[in-house]
């Protein structure tokens, strides 16, 4: 069964690299590109919950913290694993991010490590 992963990032290059890198790695993975936080929430409101969300923290408008909060507050979505995928490397962001989210991955990231982490979550 195909697994749906949302990549929410305002940088189209990052979205492209992940989409190509992940879909090549596994035919059963479908990456949905989403360019900002608001559109991520819109997607969730109108579609079945995805299997995983890769979420950038620093985005214009609704940022990653805001998106994660809305997801975890909604009982229909709070089970969705979230990976923060971010250039924010300060200890606070990482630690506070890890309390709520499943993984905190620093940019630039190693695609193989990202694949491994996704594999762990998706099984």
């Amino acid at each position: 069964m195909q697994k749906i992963i949302l990549i929410v990032d305002d940088n189209p290059d990052i979205r492209y690299v992940i989409k190509i890198g992940m879909e090549e790695f596994d035919d059963n993975i479908n990456i949905i590109e989403i360019e900002n936080g608001e559109k991520c929430i819109e997607y969730l409101e109108t579609n079945s919950p995805p299997d995983l969300i890769l979420l950038d923290i620093m985005m214009p408008g609704l940022d990653g913290w805001g998106v994660a909060s809305k997801i975890k507050k909604n009982p229909l979505w709070d089970h969705i694993p979230i990976f923060f995928l971010t250039a924010k490397i300060d200890s606070y962001s990482k630690s506070f991010g890890k309390i709520v989210c499943d993984k905190y991955i620093k940019k630039p990231f190693d695609l193989n490590e990202l694949r491994e982490s996704i594999k762990e979550v998706l099984g």
């Binding site: 909060s69 300060d90 200890s91 606070y92 630690s95 506070f96 309390i99 709520v100």
Partner: protein, 238 residues
């Protein structure tokens, strides 16, 4: 001041939420604190009596039936989860912020009832010192400055802090100039993370304090330290 169990939990949760909120956002901070408590409910079932309603933590009166020592064990567990995950530099800041953001006497109250803040600080300090030493092994360009730093420390037993030379430079800079963050980074040729690490240590040693959320100044102890540093430098030059 006497703190009830509800007071203790309310003070702690408010402080932790405030700290997380400053680095993330308010809603996320509330979710993070709720998640922390959910994780700890297995060990401390009475945490189930806490909920977030209408922008405040609502703590059921039943919590008063629990022994204060048990509540303070939960307090230590909450602090420990965040603190130890903050690794070295930011952890010191976290603990000092808890103290700043709670009512006077809070730290004394939890310490008296079994929250071993001092042990947490020592564990953290040892971790920090070890990491710092490791870093120094890769950085021998400051060896001469280290030697000078140690010389200055001799005879000044009250300053067992053994500050790095660059930390002393930062203190002297703060004494003589009113600089923006970028200016300090450029002047000392350090990264933002390195500066935050130094600030955490200097705040921990009570040489610096926060005036506002983003403004730092020397404490009286800090001024005296810099004064001694200057006189030692003068003596060495003579």
């Amino acid at each position: 001041m006497i703190f009830s169990n509800r007071d203790i939990l309310s003070e702690l949760l408010g402080a932790v939420q405030g700290i997380i909120s400053e680095k993330t956002d308010e809603e996320y901070a509330q979710i993070a604190v709720s998640t922390l408590m959910q994780k700890l409910q297995v060990k401390f079932p009475f945490l189930n009596n806490i909920s977030f309603q209408s922008s405040v933590w609502n703590i059921d009166v039943d919590v008063e039936q629990i022994s204060k020592k048990e509540v303070c064990k939960a307090v230590e567990a909450i602090i420990r989860i965040v603190y130890m995950d903050l690794k070295n530099e930011a952890g010191l800041f976290f603990l000092s912020e808890i103290e700043v953001r709670t009512k006077p006497g809070f730290i004394h109250e939890i310490r008296e009832n079994g929250t071993d803040i001092d042990l947490l600080k020592i564990e953290h300090h040892v971790l920090f010192r070890n990491l710092n030493r490791l870093k120094l092994e890769f950085d021998n360009k400051n060896q001469n400055q280290q030697k000078q730093s140690q010389d200055i420390a001799v005879g000044k037993e009250e300053y067992l802090m053994n500050l790095e030379e660059i930390e002393k430079e930062l203190l002297m800079l703060l004494q003589t100039q009113n600089m923006a963050q970028e200016g300090v980074l450029t002047k000392l040729n350090i990264s933002l993370d390195e500066m935050n690490m130094m600030l955490s240590r200097l705040i921990h040693f009570q040489l610096l304090r926060y005036v506002t959320n983003d403004e730092i100044e020397l404490t009286e102890k800090g001024f005296n330290y810099v004064k001694d540093l200057n006189s030692n430098h003068t003596t060495l030059e003579q």
